[in-house]
Amino acid sequence: MAESILLAAAALVFLGVLLGATRLVLGPTVIDRVAAVDMLTVMSISMISLYALVAGRLIYLDAALVYGVLSFLAVIAVARFLERGL
């Protein structure tokens, strides 16, 4: 049961990475690409958490935590830049 749930979660993460990468490559405007990068950041955090569960090493969750705390910084910076504020 838990195995199949993990497999489904991995498949969903893979689908999300695929869709985000598609939008990143195709995206006509900068804002599309920024949104794609934000989505790929969330997908990376979930990927790290899944791998921490699979590998059984809880120290990997610290990396996901730091990543979650700091990941909004780039998106905020680009948003301020687009609004001529930086």
């Binding site: 990143l24 900068v30 690409r33 990068v37 791998y51 780039a74 830049f81």
Partner: protein, 82 residues
């Protein structure tokens, strides 16, 4: 399985790097360079180095993007394009 994931992430780093070099817009190139270091951080975690991944995430994806944007803002001339 793990090797497949690492290879996929390395492919992501490659695509992001090529996009950062070839994109016309400077801002989109900066975002793509940040994405390359994002994939590199996940790659480090999968290879068993979470502390390196933390440093890469904070410096590569956060600080260097901020620094690039600041530099673009400071150096843009009158004929600058987004």
């Amino acid at each position: 399985m793990l090797q497949l994931f690492v290879l996929l992430l390395c492919g992501g780093i490659l695509v992001s790097g090529v996009l950062a070099v070839t994109l016309k817009s400077v801002l989109a190139a900066t975002v793509s360079a940040g994405l390359a270091s994002l994939f590199a951080a996940v790659c480090y975690v999968l290879l068993g180095a979470p502390d390196v991944a933390m440093t890469e995430a904070s410096i590569g994806s956060g600080l260097s993007t901020l620094l690039f944007l600041y530099a673009i803002r400071k150096t843009r001339g009158s004929d600058g394009d987004d």
